[in-house]
Symmetry: C2
Subunit: 501 residues, 2 copies
């Protein structure tokens, strides 16, 4: 049977912490701070990542076995195992503390010199002091030892768990759509190529790409790279979305979702874009756009409620942290409190144009047919409605080929969920399930229907109305934590020029 | 509020199905079979993917609105929505059936001609008849409409859900380790390169790779591809394992796990290998190899128990299917019944050598120091012990640089879990947490310690004993379903030459 040799600090510091008083326990973790008082007394704030707060551990030489071995430890970052008795705390700021009877230094901090041979904290990259988020990103391997990233990771875990719970409890099946894809039809963004043509290691040399100048590829292109000798025998890319693939399973298993990594090879140096990010994409059969919006609203509210109930400590931390957000939990409670405001894209344009008429300045003038920039989206949900807003029925020309054409012939059954602080957090649509219309839309968007033959097959054989949406998981974490840079809510962020660790 | 406009067939056909009798319900799904009896009576076996069994729906012209519109449907694969009353079944094989009062054909099967313009089932690739697994792999977009793949996907979902439950309930955090990685140190297998040097679309032409013949790269290699102009500014690969990355979070948050896709660019045309597969990798701090094995055993047993309790119908289906396995559930129950047998690699070699002495023939002669081939592994767990077996303490030369060196200087604290039918299903180890030993091991394995500077940092700053393992998710699904080809338990399998859909 698996069991820990220690109690998790979370279990000691929970609300009824005094219930542990007089118990003898073992804990292990890393020192947030080490403070010495004279030669015989040492205070270690010990953290094991299970909770943001640390446990104050008091080592008093006469009654603490192993005291001497712990004295030289390098300070913040050193790892210890302590056995001791939980007692009511004399000091401020904590209900209980640990009176250590047996102490063991597991690992000192060797940052006393640049070679790492001397114990000391001088060069430790994560000292207990005000560190910038930029500095911590550079130290992504040590970043989870900091309070901010640890709290973000605990919330991230809870949101992933809440996601699986929500869909499982609603009878959805989790489908792993492929990461490597030969499909060339999504149009959601620039793609990364995957290849073994450049050799399988980092230092391969003398590489000549097999380019056949005469061989026509796809009938129209001459002189392209000849992928026939590549691993998959064709050009393949990292997926930009699991949607087209997961539709195949929705059209058989009815209610499904993906939750996996997706990729965009775009030079977007914004605080809201990553080259590698995780996406959740449910797909429901026998459903229309209203069902889809209902699902999106319920799912988002479930996540917010789950966080409020299960991540209270960490939300409070972000509420009081300068990198977090004042009034965070009020903003979240407001999300649950009311039905999301629903209006059409056309109505939104009218509101924006009225705002302009009344003197509001936008960088871009709102015009029917445009893709709404972030400033418009945030104006609608932050200034006009001050709550989450669902915009529907976008112009067909700014949306993907697979969205269901409305009867007006101009708009499609698309829905974006806009939230304060983030802007668009969810994008969805009813899918075009009518074969003739879908083929026509392919042609209008310059997509060869033959390249999506299998996608069309779903409409050829027992087609059904269906709908779905995509939620960028990191944007959800920004939304929940109040952090403002997407690079701070994923363990190892990737963007142009950055693939460290 | 999200709610379906239909009841899921699973809810009607559950054990106490007769409880639904006399209720008027709406169902929707795809026809497994359509059978006509005269001009006025039609039987549709309707399936919506929620359960393997189909609901018999009876359409009788005089009392069924919409009967005429449903008559020409193309048969198997056509989609319907039915409203009707649940009644006790007259026929054999089902407790209840649906007396349809209102019927709607959602989508006919247009497989009457090759152009797909005529309703008919003649050319439908998934007719209701004996289809080979190979045929269905070619039709991966329609494959979930078949009973085998649908059952496999339901079990796959449940195993993913059980995985998240198990780790969450034990206080682990789910960490998303990166897919794109610049690290070049794992040595777990051949890697795929990711690049934008070959252009961002399928038909890019006139590509000249930027190769600088004079520029030294990594000090020793001249004339390699110059990745400085690539998207990430360096050579990057698809990850082969999240372990090294997740260790960074274990050394701060204590107990973590990954569950994500991993990739191997190997031409392994076996029934147990894929180029893209999902892996679960827990990592526990303050733990040794025994803790690691305990965790692996508990986790595997939890999954098996979860399947027996929650996937009983689908397990029964596989037990009776020619592609499944006779005695499947007995084999699974046997996994839970007893503690896993634990012995050292050295003891296993002795057992194998004794078997040879007694006349057993192996393709490869068992010799201490060799990497055990599948035939040896399966002999140990299928013939000798007839239960899951954990082998420990492997020769250091056949294992990775990061495994903890045992005191004998010859073996490392590694553990593989071998199960009947599959062979190795889990591979794990205690990690080398001593800086000096780890550096030495890097050098022995020709790995430049500077290339893993951040991994070494975990040992430099407050190192702790820690351990973890990896489980190939698709092998788990083979183990639970009794299916024998790994390509049949993942939605869109990828292998050399195959990246369709």
């Amino acid at each position: 049977m698996y069991r820990r040799h220690r109690i998790r600090i979370k279990e000691i510091l929970k609300a009824d912490a005094t219930a542990c008083v007089d118990q003898t326990i073992t804990v292990a973790g890393w020192a947030r701070t080490v403070r010495k008082q004279g030669a015989k007394l040492m205070f270690v704030e010990l953290n094991d990542g299970s909770v943001g707060t640390s446990l104050q551990c008091v080592l008093h030489e006469p009654t603490c076995e192993g005291f001497d071995g712990c004295k030289t430890n390098g300070g913040t970052g050193a790892s210890f195992q302590f056995v001791g008795k939980v007692v009511q705390s004399q000091g401020e700021g904590q209900l209980v503390e640990l009176q250590v009877s047996s102490a063991k230094l597991l690992g000192a901090v060797y940052a006393g010199n640049i070679e790492g041979t001397e114990i000391g904290g001088m060069l430790y990259p994560m000292p207990k002091k005000d560190l910038t988020l930029e500095h911590m990103r550079e130290q992504a391997h040590l970043r989870p030892r900091g309070a901010i990233h640890a709290a973000a990771m605990r919330i991230r875990h809870c949101m992933a768990y809440a996601t699986h719970n929500f869909f499982h409890n609603h009878g959805f099946l989790y489908i792993h759509t492929p990461i490597v894809t030969g499909a060339d039809c999504e149009g959601a963004g620039e793609q990364f190529g995957i290849t073994t043509l450049l050799g399988s290691d980092h230092h391969q040399k003398d590489i000549a790409l097999p380019v056949d100048p005469n061989k026509p590829i796809e009938e129209t292109v001459i002189g392209a790279v000849d992928y026939s000798t590549d691993f998959f025998g064709q050009r393949v890319n990292l997926t930009v979305s699991g949607q087209l693939n997961v539709e195949t399973h929705a059209c058989a298993l009815s209610d499904v979702y993906t939750f996996g990594p997706t990729f965009r090879a775009e030079n977007s140096f914004t605080s809201r874009h990553l080259s590698e990010f995780w996406m959740i994409e449910p797909e429901i059969a026998f459903a229309d756009l209203t069902d889809d919006i209902n699902l999106a609203e319920d799912y988002l509210k479930y996540c917010v409620e789950y966080a409020l109930e299960n991540c209270a400590d960490d939300l409070e931390f972000f509420e009081n942290n300068p990198y977090g957000e004042m009034g965070l939990r009020d903003r979240l409670r407001n999300v649950i409190a009311n039905p999301f405001k629903r209006l059409t894209y056309t109505e939104a344009i009218e509101i924006l144009q009225n705002a302009v008429a009344e003197g509001h300045k936008f960088e871009e003038t709102p015009v029917w047919g445009m893709d709404l920039p972030s400033e418009h989206e945030r104006f609608i949900c932050e200034k006009v409605f001050q709550q989450p807003v669902v915009l529907t029925d976008y112009p067909k020309d700014i949306k993907a080929f697979y969205m269901k054409l409305n009867d007006d012939g101009k708009t499609v059954a698309a829905a974006d969920v806009l939230v304060p602080k983030i802007g668009e957090i969810i994008g969805g649509s009813q899918r075009e399930h009518r074969m003739d219309v879908l083929k026509q839309r392919c042609l209008e968007m310059n997509l060869d229907p033959r390249s999506v033959w299998w996608y069309l097959d779903l409409r050829r054989y027992g087609t059904v109305p269906h709908a779905g949406f995509g939620l960028g998981f990191e944007r959800l974490i920004l939304f929940i934590t109040g952090l403002s840079n997407i690079r701070d809510v994923i363990p190892f962020p990737r963007w142009a020029g950055n693939s460290k660790f």
